[in-house]
Symmetry: C2
């Protein structure tokens, strides 16, 4: 696990993207999924994740449902209509950002390289 500070700024979009794909997820599941998708390179911290989830909920982007599973409470998060309508745009922005970063880090593959 290397990059932690790099995540800044993309965490929201990552959460939205995963929820779009999976319908609904709980916090712990999100951290597992991110580890899975990044071969263990990105490990989300709960101190970062939960505030983001709560913020997105307060903004009306997510809703929660609590369920009982094995005597434990699970809080499932899913996109609202508002969430659905913003997630595509957010993903597009993130992809553009990734491309831009590549243009800087790997300029030989970049047509804008002067």
């Amino acid at each position: 696990m290397i990059q932690t500070d790099l995540i800044k700024g993309s965490l929201r979009t990552i959460v939205l993207k995963l929820l779009k794909e999976n319908g609904r997820m709980y916090g712990y599941e999100i951290t597992r999924r991110v580890e899975e998708l990044t071969a263990g390179k990105i490990k989300l911290t709960y101190g970062a994740l939960y505030p983001v989830l709560h913020k997105l909920e307060s903004e009306g982007v997510l809703v929660t449902e609590q369920e009982n599973y094995n005597n434990r409470i699970r809080v499932y998060y899913s996109l609202t209509e508002k969430g659905h309508s913003m997630v595509s745009e957010k993903i597009r922005e993130l992809m553009e950002f990734i491309e831009s970063l590549q243009g800087i880090v790997n300029p030989q593959t970049n047509p804008n390289y002067a």
Copy 2:
């Protein structure tokens, strides 16, 4: 110009990478170069850039030289030995981060996708 908040965390590495490639640069030049390399998509703000430059200088990663050009002072930044020895590692981390992000945003191209 779309992503501003996404830059968070990668700004330091971007600056280091550009200085490695160009030998020495001044602040304004760095913002221009980033715009150039990203087709205008990333525009660094000076409020973010200068604090980063000053911090890197105080950490011994960069040194400055002031020069006069057209009656204006230009502050050139360049890597120290310490800066040179850390920049490759930082770039590697950023590239790994980019790959990880792609694994999340574009999972069909990701071998870790379960």
